[in-house]
């Protein structure tokens, strides 16, 4: 069940109507927990055991951490909790990644090994679940959070269906307090969330899915396409992954919001960033915050001199890449971003300024520089995403080789270039006027809003493909 399927819309309608009809807060939470388990079990009911066991272990670990004052015991508890979470993830997803190269290395040294590879399927969204659970345990360990008393509340935090499979990764200290006070229907900004859902649906179904149908054949056989096609496909993939993932995040935030719960913002116009550091402050914000708080800062952050800061940046980005899956393309993607952050840091130091010029400030020269910086950042991000999208490092190398010296003629419809320019322009305009639009929408009558909203949906469904592709980030 994905957010763009009719079955989800029906499921959510029932969930929403029953949720706001129930008389007490407890009943509402029980209902949401049941809905969340139904939502997750809809993929495969066996996943429910995994999420239930993981919830039980982390809840018990939280209670034990709170009860114990002994530092050694607390370390042991947090280690056990982390091992249980990372163990499932690591064993099922990274076993083959390390075992096969290990055996190859051994054979180079003259040792013959017959590695046993595993055929395992990671439950959908398990990486997000792991990050969410570890966040709770680590916050408790650091004393930044009080343990939750109710197992039901904790289970709802772990399994809350809008953010269950692909984020945004909520902080326990941001979400758990929301479970204490009952949500109030009158305080729900229904229009804002309905529009956000519509926008997310549009990005996913009308843009990402359509683009996927065009560029998938290019990434499968780049040798059959011309240089212009390959360049276009790389750019379009950047649009696809943004629309797919931010579309999902928008819908998740909207669905939670309509039920009376707030989730954190996950994207903030990342392609308008003027450097790679700003990009990472605006792209997948909930994950980059997690990487900063639970990897970069514990490694020492920027507190121990320049060389260690650069090392910490590289380690954080490499692990961030590896989090996406057991493929060298993800590791290289992380390394490329890490390298870009290092270069950016050196550049800023050389320039003697921390802040880039704003695109809308200063004279024509400053604006031109800002625009060039934005373009360079976008092209670099696109280059990295091309590696990320390729099935292997060899395939990525072939892709770029063909991009430079392909003799094939161009096959793709040229209108996609036009669309790319239009999307870029719309993205920029929207980043400046989104707030004003929101205020205007708040001012119109119910009759006009809901009637127009219905009409907008009717127009939108005419522009979606009948078979939607799964969300890219579901595999994570």
């Amino acid at each position: 069940m994905i957010f763009t399927q009719p079955i989800f819309l029906f499921f959510f309608l029932v969930c929403f109507l029953v949720h706001w009809s129930l008389p007490g807060h407890r009943a509402q939470k029980n209902w949401l927990l049941a809905c969340s388990y139904f939502f997750y079990g809809y993929w495969d009911w066996r996943f429910l055991f995994l999420i239930a066991v993981s919830t039980g272990i982390d809840f018990a670990a939280g209670r034990s951490l709170h009860a114990s004052q002994d530092p050694r015991l607390r370390r042991l508890i947090v280690t056990l909790s982390l091992c249980s979470n990372l163990g499932i993830l690591g064993f099922s997803q990274y076993f083959n990644f390390f075992v096969v190269p290990g055996a190859q290395l051994a054979s180079l040294l003259g040792i013959s090994l017959d590695p046993t590879t595993l055929e395992t399927n990671l439950p959908v969204g398990r990486r997000f679940g792991t990050v969410r659970s570890t966040r709770y345990t680590l916050d408790l360990y650091r004393g930044q959070l009080q343990p939750v008393r109710s197992l039901r509340d904790f289970a709802l935090y772990v399994s809350f269906f809008p953010q269950l499979v692909a984020g945004p990764i909520v902080r326990a200290r941001g979400f758990l307090p929301q479970l204490v006070q009952p949500p109030i229907f009158a305080e729900v900004e229904a229009r804002k969330y309905l529009l956000l859902f519509l926008a997310g649906f549009f990005k996913k179904a009308c843009l990402a899915d359509q683009i996927a149908a065009v560029i998938d054949p290019v990434f499968t056989g780049p040798e059959n396409f011309g240089s212009l096609d390959l360049a276009l496909s790389s750019l379009l993939y950047s649009v696809q992954i943004y629309c797919d993932f931010s579309g999902y995040s928008d819908m998740a935030i909207a669905v939670a919001g309509l039920l009376g719960y707030r989730l954190v913002k996950n994207f903030d116009f990342p392609y308008l960033s003027q450097n790679i550091q700003v990009f990472w402050q605006r792209w997948h914000i909930s994950l980059s915050t997690w990487l900063r708080d639970y990897l970069y800062i514990p490694l020492g952050g920027s507190r121990h001199g320049e060389s260690k800061t650069l090392r910490n940046l590289m380690i954080t980005m490499l692990l961030g890449g590896l989090w996406h899956g057991a493929n060298m393309t993800f590791v290289v993607w992380g390394a490329l971003h890490g390298a870009a952050l290092v270069v950016h840091r050196y550049f800023m130091k050389w320039r003697g300024s921390e802040k880039p010029p704003a695109a809308t400030e200063g004279g024509a020269l400053a604006r031109g520089i800002a625009l060039a910086a934005t373009l360079v950042t976008f092209i670099w991000v696109t280059f990295c995403f091309t590696v990320f999208r390729s099935p292997s490092i060899g395939a990525a190398r072939d892709y770029f080789a063909n991009l430079i010296k392909s003799t094939e003629s161009s096959h793709l419809n040229l209108d996609w270039w036009l669309l790319l320019i239009l999307l870029g322009g719309t993205h920029f305009v929207f980043s400046r006027y989104a707030r004003g639009l929101g205020e205007w929408v708040r001012g119109i009558s119910d009759l006009r809003f809901y009637f127009a909203y219905g009409a907008a949906w009717a127009i939108m469904v005419a522009f979606i493909p009948r078979h939607s592709a799964p969300f890219i980030y579901f595999q994570f």
Binding site: L17, A213, Y453, G454, A458
Partner: protein, 365 residues
């Protein structure tokens, strides 16, 4: 709970407004984005003869490939009742799709139309095989007006409602997709090619719509300079094998026909009959044009549900049942049946069947 009831009222009102907006917009978009059914060209060909046609045949492949209107006209003339006939035959045309196309045909002017012969051998149950889901042809007949007829076909079936539910769900999904023009705009956009003038563009494109009948790959014609592909001995062996296969097919068909006769006798004993409602609706559509209806059952060689012969309220249904080897043994001889497709007739069978139909029509007129 006062607050609760206000809340519920607000939700219901907003939901209704939403549905109103969606309904109005989709109604306005529908004619703009309407998808043409691949059946439409067949209807156009039939309608081109509407001014002169006296007897119209409507039905599935049993009409399309087994009734030759020229033979029918010639035979009717010999029988002393000259007619001018035409036909509308489309593969697997049945149930509500047949009803809808009959309505569309009858919307035109038929100044001399006397009789509409409708082949209802395939019955009133829609065939929703997965391969045809969401094709242009299947979507076309899933109209809002058709919902009662489509759902009605499932009532009174021996299957339980739980068995029919998946089909009902898929029918409703088709009505939604058709009525809300889902994906139609995307299909149109992909054909725009705004900056196409710069350079020719080739596939892949946005491909939303699927054609129902895609041509298969063409065989390459053998050229003079091509070397012989197989030796003479191999060709002879292949011929012998083909003859053997023909014999086997004939034997199987013979067995099948024998089974059919036995099954038909048993069915008669049990009084196997279908529902009348569908047939009465078809007759009403034709009557509104001032013509009469004759229901036709093709010689398919398996038991089909026949409607009750007597209508409860008015005249009896007129019916020609050729699916009866006791009455029409000549239609069930192996020489007139198609090899490999035993429910259909070959060209000899088509000639014979067309003549029999012409004589029967002449007799009933």
């Amino acid at each position: 709970m006062h607050e609760g009831s206000t809340q519920r009222r607000a939700i219901v009102r907003n939901l209704l407004l939403f549905l109103g907006g969606a309904g109005l917009a989709s109604a306005l978009l529908f004619p703009l984005l309407r998808r043409e059914s691949p059946v439409a060209p067949f209807a156009e060909a039939t309608l081109a003869q509407s001014k002169t046609c006296q007897v119209l045949f409507v039905g599935p492949s049993y009409v399309k490939s087994q009734i030759d209107v020229k033979i029918v006209d010639a035979e009717a003339r010999i029988a002393g009742a000259p007619i001018r006939s035409c036909k509308f035959g489309v593969e697997a045309l049945r149930a509500y799709e047949l009803e809808l196309w009959l309505e569309r045909l009858m919307d035109a002017e038929w100044p001399v139309l006397e009789l509409v012969v409708i082949d209802v051998t395939l019955g009133n149950r829609p065939a929703m095989i997965k391969r045809n889901h969401f094709t242009r042809r299947t979507l076309d007949w899933h109209t809002l007006a058709g919902i009662p007829a489509i759902l009605g076909a499932y009532l009174g079936r021996p299957e339980s409602i739980t068995q029919s539910l998946p089909n009902l769900r898929i029918h409703l999904a088709h009505v939604f997709v058709n009525r809300f023009s889902v994906g139609q705009g995307a299909g149109r956009m992909s054909q725009l090619k705004l900056i196409e003038g710069l350079r020719p563009s080739q596939e892949p494109q946005l491909a939303v719509d699927q054609s129902d009948e895609k041509p298969g790959p063409r065989a390459k014609p053998l050229r003079k300079e091509d070397p012989p592909r197989v030796s003479l001995a191999v060709q002879r062996a292949a011929k012998r094998a083909a003859a053997q296969r023909k014999k086997e097919v004939a034997a199987r068909q013979e067995e099948k026909l024998a089974e059919f006769v036995q099954e038909l006798n048993e069915a008669d004993d049990e009084g196997r009959r279908g529902e009348n409602g569908y047939h009465l609706r078809l007759r009403e559509i034709v009557r509104a044009r001032g013509a009469e209806t004759l229901f036709l059952f093709a010689p398919v060689g398996y038991v089909v549900d026949l409607p009750d012969l007597v209508e409860r309220v008015s005249a009896p249904l007129m019916l020609m049942n050729f699916n009866d080897p006791r009455k029409y043994p000549e239609l069930f001889r192996l020489e007139v049946r198609k090899r490999g497709g035993p429910s259909h007739l070959n060209s000899n069978g088509t000639e014979l069947y067309s003549k029999l139909i012409a004589r029967e029509i002449a007799r009933q007129r």
